[in-house]
Structures are given as C-alpha cells and as structure tokens.
C-alpha cells in the first residue's frame, strides 16, 4: 500500500478486475443462447446481490447469519404485497420494502450482537423460521403456503422489463453497483473497522471502535442488499411462495459465501455461480445414479462441500484457486521450461 493507492479512487487491480468483469457480464448473453441457461444467469445475478451483502456480514464483520433468506423474502414479499394488493409502482415498492427490511434488521440486531457466535447463529435461524411462519400464516396478504401470484413487472416508462435478456441486464447492473459500493466500503475506515472487529473484538473496542454499532450497521446493510435482491426476484418470477425463503435457502446462501471465500467480495458472485451451476449439474447427474428423484440429494453435496471447504479451504475456493495458480506459476518445472525457451536464440 502506498499513499497514492490510498488516495486513488480505485486501485489498479480492482479497476482492471471491474472492467473485465463488466465486459464478461455484458457480453455473456451473446454466447449463452438457451433460455434455461440465461434464466439461470439471471438467478445467479439476483443471488449474488444477496451474497455480497452476506459476505460483508460474515466475512468482514464475522457474524453468522442462518436467516439471510428471511431478508431476501421480506424484500420479495414486501414488493409483492405492495404491488399486488396496493397497486404501487414496483420501483417505489422496492424502495419501501428495502426500508422496511432495514428497520426490521435494525431492531432484530440490537439485542443479538451482544451474543456470541453460536447464539447469534441460532438467533438468526429462529428469526428466519419466524418469518417463514408469518409468510405461511398471514394468508390475507401473503396468500399462505400457496403463494402470491400475479406480481407485475418493472417498467421503464411504459415498457415492461419482461424478457430474460432485459432482466439479465437489470439484475447484473444492480449487482455491479452493489459490488462497487461493497468494495468501496471495505477500502474505507468502515471496512478496516470491520476487519479489526473480525480479528480481535477487544482490541478493536480498545481503539474506540463501537463494535456493537458496527455489527448492527453491517447487518442492516446486508439486509438491504438481500431485500433489493428479493424485490428483483419477485418481479422476475412473478409468483413467490414461502419455501423459496426458508432455512435451506439460508444455508445455501452461507454455502455460496463460503465457497467464494468468506472475506472476499469478489468471491461472492463467484461462489454463487459455482453453487448454482453445481446444483444444475447435480440435477442432471443424480437421476442417472440413483433411483430416487434428484431434488433433495443436492443437499448431501452441499453439506459435504461446506465441511470440506471449512476444513481445508477456510478462505474459500477463490483464494485456494489463486494460490494453486501461483504455485503452478512458481513450480520448478515451469520455470525450467521457460528459461530453456528463453535461452534459444
């Protein structure tokens, strides 16, 4: 780090990474043609938004959330209810839903952050379960277990954003904005404080960092990310039901962050993509292997993956891959081959 790097708007590596990323995402629809694949890309985008927020919470603030899907669901149902039952504009509904979710997250967070990790884990789990129960029981607005149909689309003026391609750009555009904000936050005093809290709470406290407040702020930020993603989800799928926001979804979100690397913002969309693509692959392969339907067997893979990653690659797949790549570049045989090549006239 030099003083110039600190005062620049962007570090060189981050800027290059961002441009490459934008180029990649922007041109993807050109060579992904099947509607199935494209719609999965849209979903990867939507879930990436959630995982970026969750990454801030888990990787930087070091707080476990087993109920992040609840915030995702609050955004989805918030948008759904406001547009279907009250006829509001989807854009306004998205904003209001995010505010409501943030407020709920704030009040949930106040008592919870004085707790240690396992209590927090269970607390968020309980919160998620309560939200799921409310979604199922408050039938007047949510439609209960059968779900809430007929959610309208986003519109730009008079044109509805309906096609997969249009939604793809909407979703990923939001992801890129979210990514930029998250990267900026991490590179600031706020991000440093979070990393400090993660490394040693008492030490952070002793330097004047108001630990409880920062954890709370991070929870609220992550809930906003999840809520916006939920709203995007609702207007994409146009029909939502409680089981898209239950505990197993929360677990999958944790898995996505873990795969990508708990403390890596760039890792979040990467881990999300890996898990969703893995799910797609499992859905194809597993019926070939067993008599039973594929549906639930993915969960074994999720479970094993979580365990293996946490034991052997606690910094996540991205870091492990980068390290393996570097090791490959540094390997003796490679160096020998390159030097032999260079010696040729």
């Amino acid at each position: 780090m030099s003083i110039r790097s600190v005062s620049k708007s962007w570090t060189r590596s981050n800027l290059i990474g961002l441009l490459v990323f934008i180029a990649f995402i922007g041109t993807l629809p050109l060579w992904v043609r099947t509607p199935y694949a494209l719609s999965n890309m849209v979903l990867i985008g939507i879930y990436s938004l959630v995982t970026i927020g969750l990454c801030l919470l888990m990787g930087y603030a070091g707080q476990i959330s087993l109920g992040q899907a609840a915030f995702f669901g609050l955004g989805a149902y918030g948008s759904g209810i406001l547009t279907v039952h009250f006829g509001w504009s989807p854009w306004i509904a998205l904003l209001i839903a995010a505010v409501i979710t943030a407020v709920i997250a704030y009040f949930i967070g106040i008592p919870m952050f004085r707790l240690r990790s396992h209590y927090l884990a269970m607390g968020t789990l309980a919160f998620g379960a309560i939200v799921t129960i409310v979604m199922n029981e408050w039938k007047v607005y949510t439609g209960g277990p059968t779900g809430l149909p007929g959610i309208p689309r986003f519109t730009l003026g008079a044109i509805p954003i309906k096609s997969d391609i249009a939604y793809y750009y909407l979703a990923w555009g939001t992801v890129i904005i979210g990514l930029i904000i998250a990267l900026n936050l991490v590179r600031s005093r706020f991000g440093r404080a979070l990393r400090a809290i993660h490394d040693s709470e008492p030490a952070a406290q002793s330097l004047g960092v108001d630990v409880d407040r920062y954890k709370l702020i991070t929870l609220v930020i992550s809930s906003i990310y999840a809520s916006v993603a939920g709203s995007l989800y609702a207007h994409y799928i146009i029909f939502i039901s409680p089981n898209a926001f239950d505990f197993s979804v929360s677990v999958r979100l944790v898995l996505m962050v873990a795969v990508g690397g708990l403390a890596s913002i760039w890792g979040a969309p990467f881990g999300t993509a890996v898990v969703i693509l893995l799910t797609m692959a499992l859905r194809e392969i597993v019926p070939l292997l067993t008599r039973y339907g594929s549906g639930e067997h993915q969960i074994i893979a999720y479970g094993l993956l979580l365990v293996v990653i946490m034991i052997f690659m606690p910094d996540g797949l991205t870091v492990a891959l980068v390290r393996a790549w570097r090791r490959l570049l540094n390997s003796e045989t490679l160096r020998r081959r390159l030097s032999a090549y260079r010696r040729r006239p």
Binding site: S7, I181, R187, R189, D199, A203, Q205, S206, I217
Partner: protein
Amino acid sequence: MDEPLLIMEVDRISKEFGGVRALDSVSFSVYERQILALIGPNGAGKTTLLNIVAGTLPAGNGQVRFRGKRLNGRPTHDRVRMGIARTFQQAHIFDKMTVLENVMVGCHLRGQCGLLHAALRLPALRREEEDVYLDAMRFLNLVGLGTKADQQAGSLPFGQQRLLAMSRALASNPTVLLLDEPAAGLNRMEKNDLAELVRRIQQMGVTIVLVEHDMELVMRLADWVVVLNHGQRLAQGTPEQVRRDPAVVAAYLGTERD
C-alpha cells in the same frame, strides 16, 4: 513550580466474581505526565483493575474519575474518545491486516467521513484516507516499525507485535495510556528498548499507567508505585519507598515467584 494536575482518580473500586473478592476498595490518584506502576503478586487484581479503568469490566463498587468526570457505565469506545487507551497482555493485534492497517485502525476516531462518503468514495474520504495514512506511518516510525508497514501483522515476532500494539494505542491520541504487562516475554535488549519508548511517550505528554512484574523496569521507569495484594492496596509511594516497605517485601517473599 507547577502543581501536577490530577488526571485520574481510582476511588474505592471493588469487584467481586461470584464470591471471589478480586478488588477491595482500592484507591489511588494519577497525575498528569506521570508514569504510575501498578505492581503486586499474582492474583492481586492488577489486570482486573486495569480492565475496570478501561471499561472492559464494570466496577462492582466505587468510581473511576477522569478529569473529574465519572467513567462509570461508559463503554470502552467512549473512554477511548475521552482519551484513555490501553494495550493487552497478549497484544491482540489484527493479525490478518498489515502492520500499517493496524495503526490506521488506531486512527479510527479521527475519521469524520461516514458510510455515504465511503460507499461513493467521495473526494473528502480520499483526502481523509491520505491523512490517516500519513499519521499512521508517523506512529509506526515512532516505535521503529516503519519499514514493516506492509507486512502482515501476524508474521511479526512477538516483541514487535507488542510494539505494534503500543503504536496503535498511541495513534488514538490518548491522554492516559494503560499498559498491561508490556515487558512480559521480552528479552533484556527488548526491555531496554521498551523503557526508552515509554520515556519518549511520557515526554510526548502522555500519562502512563503500567501493570508490571519486572521490578527492575518498574524501579527504572516509575514515578509512583501502587502495590496491590489480594485485591487491596498494600502500599504506595516512590519506587524507593515501596522497595523498602517491609509489608511489600513480605508479600512478595511469601508467595510463589513468577
């Protein structure tokens, strides 16, 4: 001749842990720019007292006053803002961050920019980051770690981690610095460097309260010594007075040596 200013008062502090009386009505005063050493045999309650002053632990009974203001109930980060900083026995550095970043966290309270500035990386934030960078480097150079700025903090040898912790605490601009056994685990040379550093800090205008076991260091550095035993104040005075106090001698000889 200037009257030394009373900067901190420990007033009849008591603390119980489920039946164990860790501290029993301990009182003493700390004067500005003083180096006060808190000594006593193992289990005397020194670290507990330090924790109470720092705000990590609530006092059972009694008060701590800083510049006349009561500290009771104030959380640690408030006390840091008021000017009380501390280090830990185990250093507790942020091992996954760089050495410089550790000190930059120490500058945390100087930052004015909020989340919005950070999220949008506005020019005000960038300028603030520059200032923080320069300040942090200054404090690093003060303890001699300037060359290691970009190293990962966790890779530093223990003695340097201690220095980093002190540099970090200094970065928060304290009026009073609480040092929890800063010499523990250091060799002779490192202890000399530490003593020099502490003197320099005192010359910068910082008041130092030092919990220590190393008698030689205490005798060398301290202006005033408070002796605790079994949670009570056994004696206080200049290093010479305390050394010759028979009660103190008995307390030390009567317990296991470190």
